[in-house]
Symmetry: D2
Subunit: 443 residues, 4 copies
């Protein structure tokens, strides 16, 4: 049966922008007007939204206590390659109706694994061919690709950190192909999320050996990228735990430290997922800000967790305040390109209507768009930024401050300075004032 021209979302019309949308017109964008210029760039360039293939087209609503709840029209009982192609067509229909210009994928999301590596790669090649056609037809681009190194039982004890070199080799073979495929699809980045790169118990684990192997693996990836001429940015995505008890790429600072130690910091940036940041015990915006200030923020998996839950809920970002913090960092660093805001989110298991997929994305796009509009006021105004700069003025304006920043001061000299100048003045941190002003911009 041919499904090439089938419409999978016949009841959904292309999503449009209408600032006068009623409160319950949730299939209309009230704030996101993609070509509208904000701070000198169109909104879509600031926000670079992307749909993730895995949650949105492979997620079926199963959780650890329950069976799948979603009945998707593209998941009919055909052979697996036909289903894979239908799913891909449904996805591009979805991207197009939503008006999102990018997608992201794992190798195993888009094409089924075969009996052998040859069969698996052949499946992938066939699907990649169709993907390229659909990209050409729709203009939708690939933000990044990645390899799924966590679902197959072979990786249960880790991929690049597996105690068995044979598994390490398998992971290498898989990533080799995944980078090539991402290159083929014009992917602007390639992501490493080490879902099983960690430990379940220290009792059976040699952490140093495993981390050394992980570094070796990443070095090979850099080499291979160069060899095939892939120009995309390599990204590491931190997560503290789940599925493993401890994931080595715990958070932004841990990963940046690892890259420094193993001499990989020129070749990788980070893909930050705020739901992972909060799982690591930090504020929602912490990792994004932390790596941005070191020039290491490559891309964002824009979702949210639930602060009262201890696992990855991958919810759609619907909180203006959180999105505003993220946008503030993005504006400060001048944009995210070649990275983007990838909606690594899933509709709730109970959100079983097809339209829920659209409502969720529209709600999140609008939340970021509103945040962008609000933060644009903050940046145009310049008052806020001036306040922060003033806090640190002594380093720019006093001799002692300049010397400290230049690295030429000594303890003896500073000791003499205190003997001469005595106690510093008390200066309020004014946190509530900053909060109140920030709130005024969010009004």
């Amino acid at each position: 049966m041919s499904t090439e021209n089938k419409e999978f979302f016949p009841d959904i019309k292309p999503i449009i922008y209408n600032p006068q949308a009623s409160v319950d017109d949730v299939l209309v964008l009230k704030h996101y007007n993609q070509d509208e210029i904000i701070l000198g760039k169109p909104m879509h360039e600031w926000l670079r939204f992307s749909v993730c293939f895995w949650h949105t087209f492979r997620g079926l609503g199963a959780d650890i206590f329950g069976a799948p709840t979603f009945d998707r029209p593209w998941d009919q009982q055909f052979d697996s390659m036909t289903v894979a192609k239908n799913r891909l067509r449904a996805a591009f229909e979805f991207f197009t109706k939503l008006g999102i210009k990018y997608f992201t994928f794992h190798d195993r999301d888009i094409a089924p694994e075969g009996e052998t590596i040859e069969q698996t790669e052949q499946n992938l090649d066939e699907i990649v061919k169709l993907t390229k056609e659909l990209q050409k037809q729709t203009g939708v681009k690939c933000l990044w690709g990645t390899a799924n190194l966590f679902a197959n039982p072979r990786y249960m004890n880790g991929a690049a950190t597996n105690p068995d070199a044979h598994v390490f080799a398998y992971a290498a073979a898989q990533v080799k192909k995944a980078i090539e495929v991402t290159h083929e699809l014009g992917g602007e980045n390639y992501v490493f999320w080490g879902g099983r790169e960690g430990y379940m118990s220290l009792l059976n684990t040699d952490v140093r050996k495993e981390l050394d192997h992980l570094a070796a693996f990443l070095r090979m990836a850099v080499e291979h990228k160069k060899k095939i001429g892939f120009k995309g940015q390599l990204l590491i995505e931190p997560k503290p735990k789940e599925p493993t008890k401890h994931q080595y790429d715990y958070d932004a600072q841990t990963v940046m430290g690892f890259l420094s130690f193993y001499g990989l910091d020129k070749d990788f940036k980070l893909n930050i997922e705020p739901n992972h940041t909060t799982m690591a015990g930090h504020a929602y915006e912490h990792d994004v800000e932390m790596c941005s200030r070191y020039g290491m923020l490559g891309s964002i998996d824009s979702n949210t967790g639930d602060p009262s839950l201890g696992w990855d809920t991958d919810q759609f970002p619907m909180n203006l305040r959180d999105c505003a913090f993220i946008v503030k960092t993005i504006i400060t660093q001048g944009g995210l390109a070649p990275g983007g805001l990838n909606f690594d989110c899933k509709v709730r298991r109970e959100s079983t209507n097809l339209e829920d997929m659209f409502i969720a994305h529209v709600g999140a796009m609008d939340c970021f768009a509103l945040a962008l509009r609000k933060m644009a006021r903050l940046f145009e105004d310049k008052k806020y930024d001036a306040l922060v700069k003033q806090r640190y003025a002594s380093y720019a304006q006093t001799d002692i401050g300049k010397k400290i920043e230049a690295g030429t001061a000594t303890f003896e000299e500073l000791h003499a300075f205190i003997k001469k100048n005595g106690e510093p003045a008390k200066t309020s941190g004014q946190q509530e004032k900053y909060e109140a002003i920030f709130n005024r911009y969010l009004d």
Copy 2:
């Protein structure tokens, strides 16, 4: 030296409402216009703001790792009773300039403990006299009083739950006086927060005995209240932990269950502090909603915690979304009176300027006021409420549903119903739709 007419905040003018306030005019109320009618009542009746005496006039910025940082003009080196009076005058100047109509206090906040119980009570009486005068002069009223049963070393092993009956008796003597004093000041409620009513270690604790003693204590309080003719509402404030490892009044449901078990549920309602709610692992709004739906929400200690920190930070509520949830429940139950929104918050230890005290309260008042304006739209609109009702329509509209609610259905009957009617239809929970609509009201 006479300080009776001293102005403690000479640099601060009375806070006014100005909807055109600039983003950094943080000593101006942009949203809270106390007498403006919203949903049929003035804003101040919906919100019933209160300043807490302890954090705002006794807090000095000490934390467990550091010394006090605040230099307050009312804490000069006079004798303790003179300082207590100055502090009280400063407080009423603060309430008045801020335009807040209520305050709350612990017995030990306002008057120093003496060498003997007689001396302590005499100090308290003297201060109460001045308080009444200041209330009369300013019109500021007492939302509630309470006894501090946690700071004095005598209570280190608990007050009403102390293993030593002598300490229990001391707590009883103290609460007796505190209720009387609250009555004297026209307090509209009286609060029990059991700061040390819990355990540090199960190894040395008989939890049942301690809870039985706690119930006995509360029964005596009810009796005493009746005896002296105090008409105020008695309230229990849940908190899960800190300073104890486990506090018996863990959260709203625990306290409501305790009250039911011990037959005290007609005599007490709850005072919910959202920072305690989040420490108990719940969503910010959970306890407020939970006890409101059982008719048990008496008052709110409106503050916020930090979801990435595990202790009580008592921050000023500055998050519109959180405040909107609280206001939604308040509107649903028709108001909070005789309870209120008590700012049980402290400026950060680093916020050492006197004006920070005002900025923080203004920011929080405005945040709630804006939330009230937004939620008023939601209630006027009726769309949102209709959506929720529709979800449960089967209980109102089908025979089987009505029987279930009436308590007349049996397993056998329901079994027969399923044999006849088979599988229920699948109904989306539409969480993202609710979130998106809620966001539209917050725009």
Copy 3:
């Protein structure tokens, strides 16, 4: 193909007790000697171990990020009823080789759901028949049964708390049958774990209505139990969250309060799972102790979580200290019967060897057995108990203490007592001393 006499664990010999077992003879019991008399009863009566069917015979090692990893010889590609029977035979072989006298099950664990409720019940009846035969052959008994009201998509929005009365009715029909089946198998208890009885978002939920429905449901269960003459104990198992954001049966105190409020406290006791207790923010032993002291501890799902993880890991209890706390409570209340220590645990996803199933159970049995031996010393010694009693002696030995406990004291009388007697003496809580002594018993 007949598999009636197939041995599923041919490589595993019956587990024996040998106190001289070498450190790595992990298929030998070093401490659990079932018939040995400890404190007047055989070990197996104190500990009443049970194997759970779901994790041990239905769990396949899938997690939310990965596919199943276990290849079980009983899960061959026969029709589903044949597989169900093989699995059952494997289970009884396992129970017998392990020497555990009880098992627990969900209705859906043991028999597959059919197309219709009639088919489902017929499947269940057929399997129950075989189960009874196997029980008779082996002497293994049923500790408790329960209904799975969380895996099927129909329950995604709740079972007894579903917004749709039709789903409520389905749950009722299912529980009716599950109680009958448990009765048929001689189950000594019946458990309610409300896996989806909670909310995902307060925005779309009427919590009061849902809780009223839950109470109505439980009342029907009590009625039905009486009608069919089932004498087993009804149990509720608290859990704070997962899969829902907030589960109504949050923890022991919440459930006890709910039962009191709705007048159900005479008909139900609690089944406590320590992994749920720690997820609720309490100490491992908290809920067990809390409900035991109120006469409400019915049974224990003896497992452990990981304090650094925020989800239910259902690990085997391997920590002597934790087990000792549990055993201490069990001894204090004189035993757990008709409840037991049900190993609601799963081997790790990476523990793919068949022998891992045995090793895990043996390790946990030995851990509890050692705890029992150590705690027996503590009880025989009587020193520890005397210490705790002495802490509360003032309530038994002084007039004021006796009056407080009798409920005849008043605030006025206690106030007078303090005026006369002044400050209480300072008494050390001696936590470290209790810890040190407890450690000496664990040496």
Copy 4:
């Protein structure tokens, strides 16, 4: 009044070792026999216990909700320098009676701050003189010194990370002196714990600037150490939060990464406190193991937190299992010298008896001693270690494994290997087996 010869603990006799101690002889060491040879070294060399001055001699039982509870005989109402000296004498009496050979201190613990920096340094010098005498008399040595850069209000916004260069300078002046004093006292290490080096709010913070300043500060410390000829090890102590919302030295990996990035990894090692490790969301033993495997474990602040509490409780380590994990790492790296096991612990606020100080230390010493005896068996046996090595054997024994470790393998080569060799075998991780064996050693 002369207090030079006063005995501060007249009721406590020197603590002795007696393996036959009764369960409640908690002032006797049952396991720690300092000179007994274990694995070729005396116990005291493996364990290198140290008493911390701050908690044990400056802590008074205050917490954030309550006043001090301890009445210490050395804290009489003399002038502050006399009290400081008495306290010091009491401390050395305590060390000696306890039989602990090391102590640790902050500059401000031992000597009071004066009005000026000159006065402060003079106080310190005077106290250091007495300390040296007491060290000489008793043979007790200094494990490490440190500067208190968090208690004084001047540091409320940070010390080396303060927005004000004047405060940075003050911190430098203070650390200069603290290192000199530590050198004078023969300190074997010097510790940096950055109690206020972090942020309270990202809204008012430039994290990059602050971290750059922190690195500059540490570089000056290295320079100064060399200049004065101090040979002790410099150590950084990670902590994730408290008192700040986010502390830059979050955990072991974060600190190691920071040191790598800023080129400081040759000059610093880490001082790990397990209570901080668990606050960062890791297993108790995680940070100790993590930095040991990178050769960066310098010393341990051996205490414990409470997994159900979100703040630093600094409890005495009384859990054999936890101590065993720590000891396993110590033995693996061949010992901790020049670091040690510093009891950075405080008796509970309710433990007000003087003897509680001894009981707590004895309990913890015994817990570690027993752990050492148990782990010695594990190391002598060699079975456990062989199991772990075997898990990673493929890297030592196969060509592909060797090439991966040598850094000479490529993705292409590994891809070819998989094409040739196909799927790896499934290997159980056997976590429960490791746990069971580990438990056998703990029996």
